[in-house]
């Protein structure tokens, strides 16, 4: 499984980079810039987070970004996103910590030719870095008669992602309904040991783009 997820992650990055290299020379003559002041949506985490006792694996996500367009068809986007949820670790003793997930990514977007009633589509592929941080970074688990101190160490993973957007032009920009799948691998502990497991999160939301003239 981790090999499959790792392959998808690498493939999505390679597709993004290769396509960008191919597109750059031909489209460099018509550069344009776009900012994405708001990317609002939800992210649904992989099932492997169930063991972490997250109260909900679906959480609201906020983000922002920017993009450089190369002609009408290709653009290179950069973005940031953040989502958070509370984990009770499946314990009865009330111990909780907030798991904040921040990711930064770069991606290539390619428009699918043609529009219908002003609605178009573009495909996205890219890669980035996902940071998982617990707050607090340390918990004391109380089980009658003993307290166990546990460090909730930060986790940083390289990610790849693939997805699509349905976009509609607005005056001075566009709005898009975006859906992506983020792939990465993670070390997950269980009573039988530590496994390197593949994870696939689903992220969806609305993105607002404003063109800079």
């Amino acid at each position: 499984m981790s090999g499959g997820i790792g392959g998808l992650r690498r493939a999505s990055c390679v597709v993004g980079v290769a396509t960008a290299c191919a597109a750059l020379p031909t489209a460099a003559q018509s550069l344009h810039f776009v900012i994405e002041p708001a990317v609002v949506g939800v992210e649904r985490l992989d099932d492997l987070y169930a063991g972490g006792g997250l109260e909900a694996r679906t959480a609201a996500r906020l983000g922002a970004g920017a993009a450089i367009g190369f002609g009408e068809r290709w653009s290179l986007g950069l973005g940031l996103g953040v989502a958070a949820g509370t984990a009770d670790f499946g314990l009865l003793d009330g111990t909780t910590a907030r798991l904040v997930r921040t990711d930064a990514y770069a991606e290539l977007r390619g428009r699918v030719p043609g529009r219908w009633r002003g609605i178009g589509m573009q495909l996205v592929a890219g890669g980035g870095r996902l940071a998982l941080r617990y707050h607090p970074e340390h918990v004391a688990v109380n089980v009658e008669g003993a307290t166990y101190d546990v460090d909730l160490e930060p986790i940083d993973r390289w990610t790849g992602h693939l997805g699509f957007e349905v976009v509609h032009a607005l005056a001075g920009g566009e709005v898009g309904l975006r859906s992506t799948w983020r792939f990465y691998s993670m070390e997950v502990a269980s009573p039988s040991g530590i496994d390197n497991r593949g994870a696939r999160d689903w992220i969806t939301g609305l993105v607002l783009r404003v063109a800079l003239d």
Partner: protein, 533 residues
């Protein structure tokens, strides 16, 4: 003695509120926003009726600590016996429940499942009252949660109502585990060896009656503990005699130690990590906490949402596996109780965290305090001298129960604050504090009223070296008694009395000089005060 025990518990019960330090109300399943798991709440969550007539529950858990994600992982299997639909409902708290068994007489089927008990190794014992047998199951974890599977059964019992597992003092070694069964119809308790595939009957104890060693429908049973591990104590809820009996198990023999009277029959008993005993009083509508010696410690009746026929109380026990160090797993009681009450529209399963509090704090002599501590704790006395100097005195660890404490420096203190810090969860210490003023003078003291002159009211403070009858009266300058403020018994220590400037008929008195006189035993004290209009 019995009545004295129960009187104490009544006194404590009257002071126990919803926010009692001994019982802290917690949501059953905060992750799905469920405070009390009721019949209607369960139907909302699972889309169908979950239970018909729940009788008892048991919880077995594992806590895993790791160096890698998810760092901490709790796994619990919560089992409830449903005597109405003749099955078990079980699952991980907050997850979709499963059921085991159905009505019938075949292996793995039930006639009327009642009491439940987990062995540390995950075996589950189910008392089946009408089929007269104990069904033995085993819980194991699969990827999607816990599963129960049939192992064996023990036949030939007479209306078994409850079961308890004795870990032999070695929770990690199932070979020396023993099973105790409350055979309500047989008026006795039975002891089984659990070694091997077929449990073997070792002994039985009790006959019908009301004396020592006799029972009338013993329907609840629990094992005593010390530090999570079973000790020799055995507690039996003797329903017909409205009492709880404390026995000691020596080898395969039982010995009657004591009993404590209850106002109604005990429907369920369980013990916590420290050996404290929790008793569900179904018809009394409360949960009673007792010390291992059966002193009443605290009582909980649900507070603002009164308990509806509580029929079971269960303390979860967990294995703590610290994979970071590779240390041997530790078997520990969780400081939580799950209370099963009448399965109704607004009642069902509630959860309490078990804490510590101080009750009945009194000063017995200038250097001696008496109090009841409701759980094992470290005690600290903070003494404040008359000049404001503060001194902390570490009184060490105390067990749950009534304590007499000798503190030499108490004699010079103007105030003492006792702080009980739960030895098992320091975060609960803040909820176990009781402050009291303890000014006990060597002689009768009558202080100047404050304010003086006054209008319209003033406060008079007096202090007694010992308890006794006192009379505090106000006189005018002509010697006529204007008002009697106190004419009653008062304990030793400082007392404050307000006077509103009115006479015995409630009329406001005129301005001028008044005298107030304190009579305490053979001692009288007089002071002057001024009412200024």
């Amino acid at each position: 003695m019995r009545w004295m025990v129960w009187f104490t518990s009544l006194a404590l019960a009257s002071t126990a509120a919803a926010e009692s330090g001994s019982f802290l109300v917690r949501p059953v399943a905060p992750e799905v926003g469920v405070s009390t798991l009721t019949r209607s709440e369960a139907e909302r969550l699972v889309g169908r009726a979950l239970l018909d007539e729940p009788a008892a529950s048991a919880v077995h858990g594992e806590v895993h600590l790791y160096d890698a994600f998810p760092y901490v992982e709790g796994r619990y299997v919560h089992v409830t016996s449903d005597a109405g639909w003749r099955r078990l409902v079980y699952g991980e708290p907050g997850e979709a429940p499963r059921s085991f068994g159905q009505g019938g007489t075949a292996a793995g089927e039930f006639g009327e499942p009642r009491g439940l008990a987990f062995a540390p190794d995950g075996r589950l014992f189910v008392a089946d009252r009408t089929l007269g047998r104990i069904t033995v199951l085993r819980s194991r974890w699969e990827a999607d949660g816990p599963r129960l599977e049939y192992v064996t059964q023990i036949d030939g019992l007479v209306q078994p109502m409850d079961v308890a597992v004795h870990d032999g003092g070695t929770p990690a070694d199932p070979a020396d585990d023993r099973l105790l069964v409350a055979e309500a119809g047989g008026q006795r308790i039975a002891l089984f060896e659990l070694r091997g595939d077929r449990p073997a009957r070792l002994a039985e104890y009790g006959v019908r009656g009301s004396g020592a060693g006799e029972f009338l429908y013993p329907r609840a049973i629990a094992i005593g503990r010390q530090g999570g591990v079973c000790n020799a104590d055995v507690y039996v809820g003797d329903a017909g005699n409205h009492r709880i009996a404390r026995l000691v198990l020596r080898g395969n023999r039982f010995e009657w130690i004591a009993d404590a009277s209850l106002p109604v029959e005990a429907t369920s008993i369980d013990s916590d990590h420290n050996g404290n005993v929790y008793v569900a009083l179904r018809r009394g509508g409360s949960i009673l906490k007792m010390s291992p010696r059966l002193e009443a410690l605290a009582s909980w009746d649900g507070g603002v949402a009164p308990l509806a026929s509580p029929r079971d109380v269960a303390i979860p026990f967990v294995w703590v596996h610290d994979h970071r160090t590779g240390a041997s797993p530790a078997w520990r009681g969780q400081g939580t109780a799950l209370v099963l009450e009448s399965w109704g529209a607004a009642t069902g399963v509630r959860r309490l965290d078990l804490g510590v509090e101080i009750a009945e704090l009194v000063r017995r002599s200038p250097t001696e305090l008496e109090l009841v501590v409701t759980d094992a704790a470290r005690l600290t006395a903070r003494l404040v001298g008359a000049g404001g100097a503060v001194q902390d005195v570490d009184l060490g660890r105390v067990q749950a129960g009534r304590q007499q404490l000798e503190i030499a420096s108490l004699a010079d203190a103007a105030q003492v604050t006792l702080i009980a810090t739960s030895e098992y969860d320091a975060s609960r210490s803040a909820e176990a504090r009781l402050e009291f003023a303890a000014v006990v003078p060597a002689d009768v003291v009558l202080r100047q009223n404050v304010p003086n002159p006054f209008n319209p009211a003033t406060t008079i403070v007096f202090a007694l070296p010992e308890p006794g009858r006192v009379r505090l009266e106000v006189f005018d300058v002509g010697g006529r008694r204007v008002r009697t403020l106190v004419d009653a018994e008062r304990p030793a220590g400082e007392h404050r009395v307000d006077w509103d400037g009115r006479d015995a008929r409630g009329r406001r008195v005129s301005s001028g000089v008044y005298f107030y006189k304190l009579d305490a035993g053979s001692t009288a004290r007089v002071r002057k005060m001024v009412l200024a209009q």
